[in-house]
């Protein structure tokens, strides 16, 4: 059955990325404690190496890591004595998830509306304006947009807090900065999907039935145009996720994205390894769910067949 097969592909993908990440991380020459070697006595270093399993041969380390991973333990951090990778992720996840989901919702709702309106006004003024907005939205990277939003909306006009995290007001600017490009992409995608659907024969049939224009657009147009957009949510989620790295950094939001970028900066390998696996898993699960729901929504595709 398709779901089961797809599920195993998902597991294999997660395993591949774990292995890949592990190999990449351990291919770095040298010792992560090299900088401490001068100041710390040899026994302490030995202890620390033991703590991180660095005294074992690589294959053993790998198996140990996999074993811990299966038990959902991503291991300790090098930078922080007290917070292991699990705690770090638990700390950062709520903020990141809120930011990501809020942006996804903004991008989807407004993107879809914009795309539908543009398609219905094909080659009209609204169409041109929406598409102008969309193409500009796609062209401006979020790390350029975010500082601009901060400068105008927060600093100059004082409408929102400048940075950091806390109240809902804090989430507005980062969500907007993060959502703009995906919104624009969704709008363009929906517009072309809608244009294609509205050209189909069954729309003519619906028209010949004497249905009202709104009825045709919603029941026959939008419903069919939405289906390809669903399959687009996967890449969109990936886009948002990488977006959170810069947005959380710029707005000083204590999310996983920020920890991830910090860990890159500090070369805190266990954290990089752990968060990468975490991110990948989330994305791969999203892709899986999107794929399944796509097949549920579209009656033409059976869950039992492969049907690529």
């Amino acid at each position: 059955m398709y779901i089961i097969k797809r599920f195993f592909t998902m597991l294999v993908t997660i395993w591949v990325i774990t292995t890949l990440t592990f190999i990449i991380m351990h291919s770095i020459p040298g010792d992560p404690f090299a900088s401490d070697a001068d100041v710390l006595p040899e026994e302490v270093l030995e202890n620390m190496r033991a703590k991180y399993n660095l005294d074992e041969p690589l294959p053993v380390q790998y198996l140990l890591y996999l074993k811990n991973l299966v038990m959902l333990d991503l291991g300790p951090s090098i930078q922080s004595e007290t917070r292991d990778v699990n705690t770090l992720i638990a700390d950062g996840f709520p903020a990141s998830a809120l930011l990501g989901i809020q942006s996804l919702v903004i991008a989807l709702i407004f993107g879809l509306i914009l795309g539908i309106v543009a398609a219905l006004n094909h080659n009209g003024i609204i169409d041109y304006l929406s598409m102008a907005f969309a193409i500009i939205g796609i062209s401006i990277p979020s790390f350029i947009l975010a500082p601009l939003l901060i400068k105008y909306f927060a600093v100059d006009w004082g409408l929102f807090p400048v940075a950091s995290w806390g109240t809902w007001l804090h989430t507005v600017l980062p969500s907007l900065a993060l959502a703009t490009a995906p919104l624009a992409i969704v709008a363009r995608f929906m517009r072309s999907s809608m244009l294609e659907v509205m050209n189909q024969n069954y729309i003519k049939t619906a028209d010949a039935k004497g249905l009202s224009t709104t009825g045709i657009v919603i029941k026959h147009g939008v419903r069919n145009a939405l289906i390809p957009v669903i399959s687009f949510i996967g890449p969109l989620a990936a886009f948002l996720l990488t977006g959170t790295f810069v947005i959380e950094k710029i707005f000083a939001i204590p999310g996983i994205g920020k920890y991830f970028v910090d860990s890159i900066f500090n070369r805190d390998f266990p954290v990089i390894l752990g968060t990468t696996i975490f991110f990948s898993t989330i994305l791969i699960i999203t892709l899986f769910l999107v794929d399944i729901s796509y097949r549920i929504v579209d009656p033409r595709i059976k869950l039992t067949s492969k049907g690529d």
Partner: protein, 338 residues
């Protein structure tokens, strides 16, 4: 017999990249109550565009009705406000479209798609609609109508889909059914079944049908009257007998020659009409068929012939019917027709 539909001098153009396509260039025909009219002609001659203009289905942005009138039940319906037209579409005029494979919404149960029409145009109680739909599905000869109700188009064969579309078209007891090549996309055995179904329904529901086709076999089977269309004009029209036994237009002759004849003892050759229809971007000023006509005369390329009446019901647009024209048999003996 009263007039149900009358189309006069209908002209429709499309805006395209290459310029204006004059798809329909002055079409006249009428349809009486309870009658079956066949519109025949080659692909691209404007049959579907004519049908769509009657129902107000032309794509608004690219098409333009340049003139003419369409009278339905004594009322002008060309350019009727959207709301009023919506009340007629699906209820008084039903459409069976050319392509059953793509004319149903792929993500909606077929039963629901029929129920929609009934809900829109009648005040049948909600819980009765489904009963009525299943009844309709049975009427058009779908086996297991209850199960079919909740199937999706891709689960049905082409012939079944066409039956669903027919059920949809007759669901509100329309006065007129426009069937745009209802059998072209189907294979031969199914074609015959669908035609039989249409004939039966026409009798039992007492509606009128305008059937569009390029198959004269279909015409002979179902229609009482025929309109022959070529390059956006009706070149000849008459009763089936008149057209089959006494055709007045060389294009009709050509069409008749291109259907296989059975039982005539010898195996008749199938003679296709040479050449192709004119460019609708710049249609010729004269008779559009002149370039392919074996009997073309000088005047044919200069001036469009008028409608010439040979009986109450029989008209043709051809210079050969002009008293000044030479007799066709002279033309043939002069070696024109090979």
């Amino acid at each position: 017999m009263s007039r149900l539909l009358e189309v006069e001098d209908l002209q429709v153009s499309f805006k395209t990249y290459g310029g204006e396509v004059k798809a329909v260039r002055g079409v006249d025909f009428y349809l009486n109550q309870g009658e079956v009219l066949a519109v025949v002609g080659e692909s691209g001659c404007g049959k579907s565009v004519t049908a769509q203009s009657i129902m107000g289905l032309l794509p608004k942005k690219v098409s333009r009705i340049k003139g003419g009138s369409v009278t339905f039940e004594g009322e002008e319906i060309l350019g009727l406000p959207k709301k009023q037209m919506q009340a007629i579409k699906g209820s008084k005029i039903g459409l069976i479209s050319q392509d059953p494979m793509t004319s149903l919404n792929p993500t909606m149960m077929v039963g629901k798609q029929i129920a929609e029409v009934i809900k829109k145009h009648t005040d049948i109680a909600k819980n009765q609609i489904k009963v009525r739909v299943i009844e309709l599905l049975a009427m058009v000869g779908l086996p297991n109508p209850e199960q079919r109700y909740s199937q999706y188009p891709h689960e049905l064969s082409g012939g079944m889909r066409q039956r669903v579309l027919i059920a949809m078209a007759i669901s509100c007891d329309p006065q007129l059914i426009i069937a745009d090549e209802p059998t072209t996309a189907l294979d031969v055995t199914i074609q015959a079944q669908i035609l039989d179904l249409l004939k039966d329904l026409q009798k039992s529901l007492d509606t009128s049908i305008m059937i569009i086709t390029h198959d004269l076999g279909v015409v002979a089977e179902v229609a009482q009257r025929v309109a022959v269309m070529y390059a956006g004009v009706i070149v000849e029209s008459g009763t089936v007998e008149e057209i089959f036994e006494n055709p007045d237009h060389p294009y009709t002759w050509g069409l008749l020659n291109s259907i296989p004849k059975y039982g005539s003892g010898e195996k008749d050759r199938l003679i296709p009409i040479q050449g192709s229809p004119p460019d609708l971007f710049a249609p010729p000023t004269g008779c559009p068929f002149a370039a392919r006509c074996e009997y073309a005369m000088e005047i044919c390329v200069q001036e469009m012939p008028d409608k010439k009446r040979t009986s109450e019901t029989h008209h043709a647009r051809c210079w050969l019917n002009d008293p000044r024209a030479p007799l066709v048999k002279d033309l043939i003996s002069a070696g024109r027709a090979e």
